[in-house]
């Protein structure tokens, strides 16, 4: 299909179908803490998630990488990226996490998607006023 030598030739039609080939899943999360004044850094948040994973799945089961792509320390919201095979584990670990440094906490998962792009286009968040 590739013709490197001819530069400005219009592209010929080609269709590719990728089924389940997205390697990652993305999650938008937010952390709710009992004490609203508690602050934590991105590294502390990731450490909290890692420890939650280790509690639930142990040293072997939690040995998979995930990324904290973005973190807003003020709103305690973030975006996670995880390999497909780790999605269920990471998600359930977040669900069952109940405390941060002896303080009650809860992770709210706002959105999960195989495309990072759709995290910024969530139609369920469309709020229109009627006055």
């Amino acid at each position: 299909m590739r013709r490197a030598d001819i530069k400005d030739e219009p592209a010929t039609y080609e269709r590719l179908v990728y089924k389940n080939t997205s390697v990652y899943h993305y999650m938008r999360i937010s952390l709710v803490l009992e004490n609203e004044n508690t602050r934590l850094s991105a590294a502390q948040l990731k450490q909290l998630i890692v420890s939650g994973l280790r509690d639930l799945y142990g040293e072997v089961g939690s040995a998979f990488p995930f990324d904290l792509l973005k973190f807003d320390a003020r709103a305690l919201t973030g975006v996670l990226r995880v390999y497909n095979s780790g999605l269920v584990k990471l998600w359930s670990a977040l669900t069952l996490l109940g405390s941060y440094q002896n303080e009650r906490c809860s992770f709210r998962v706002t959105q999960v998607s195989p495309f990072l792009l759709t995290l910024s286009g969530n139609s369920r968040e469309l709020e229109l006023e009627l006055d």
Binding site: W91, S92, T95, L96, L97, G98, R104, S106, R124
Partner: protein, 269 residues
């Protein structure tokens, strides 16, 4: 698929806290919640009282996130039964929308599955299941339309409870094959509640399929709610309600089979 429900919000006398739990449930997208009154007759001075009227809780009920309607609140009674004498359905039971039983022994579990007039059978999550789930009572319960309940709050609180919750849930799903199972919170505090999609995902840890996990907080809860209604309304056949029906509609409904019609009436209420 039906709306998301959390049929177990633990009742507390702290009205403010109860209110904030229900508000959080609405915020998380649950359309219906049930306030759970637990009665353990083994302990002294425990008796089944009348539930508090849900209308007293709020002036205006909180709006469900992503919807334009308010949350629906039900009352639920859970009888902890360690002796057959503990479960005596009487007039007091009728005041509740849902009735659940938490059998402590295998014999009572069998009775709960096969004969008790309940909507929900609770599964132990704070201790090791003291008996095996036998296939015949479980199948009996499924046939009767009684549902099993697993609460996830203890799994959030404590690591040992978490092991019990997962182990008991898996041994149940091995027997019931993911059918007739509901997952509820049993939350006492707002931070113990989790979102519906999170719980659907958590279902995978309990041995449910993805679809079954979602059904455990929606479709199955709807069935429990309907079952509760039918129990209240004499098997769902006789039910009185005020409704003006135009003549044309009556005629058109003629082709609906009798059993269906009965069902529809309960749905309307």
């Amino acid at each position: 698929m039906a709306v998301f429900m959390d049929l177990n919000i633990t009742y507390t006398t702290d009205k403010k806290r109860l209110r904030s739990v229900i508000e959080t449930a609405a915020h998380l997208g649950y359309s219906t919640v049930a306030i759970n009154y637990v009665v353990d007759l083994q302990q002294k001075k425990q008796e089944i009282g009348k539930p508090k009227c849900v209308l007293e809780l709020f002036d205006t009920f909180p709006i469900v996130q992503g919807k334009s309607r308010p949350i629906k609140v039900l009352n639920r009674l859970t009888v902890v039964a360690s002796d057959p004498s503990h479960f005596r359905p009487n007039a007091e039971y009728k005041a509740y929308d849902l009735v659940a039983v938490y059998p402590k022994t295998e014999k009572l579990f069998h009775a709960a599955c096969m004969t008790f007039d309940v909507d929900i059978i609770c599964v132990a999550v704070t201790e090791k299941q003291p008996f095996f789930f036998k296939r015949s009572p479980v199948n009996g319960a499924i046939e009767r339309g009684v549902f099993f309940e697993i609460s996830y709050t203890p799994a959030i609180r404590d690591s040992t409870m978490r092991r019990y919750t997962i182990a008991n849930a898996i041994s149940l799903t091995e027997t019931c094959k993911g059918k007739n199972l509901i997952v509820t919170s049993g939350a006492e505090r707002p931070l113990e509640l989790r979102g519906p999609y999170d719980i659907a995902n958590l279902g995978l840890l309990f041995g449910l399929s993805e679809e079954d996990g979602k059904a455990a907080i929606s479709t199955n809860c709807r069935a429990v709610h309907l079952h509760g209604e039918t129990r209240k309304t004499a098997l769902g056949i006789v039910h009185t309600m005020k409704k003006d029906q135009p003549l044309t509609e009556r005629q058109e409904e003629e082709h609906v089979p009798a059993s269906k019609r009965a069902k529809l009436e309960t749905v309307d209420s």
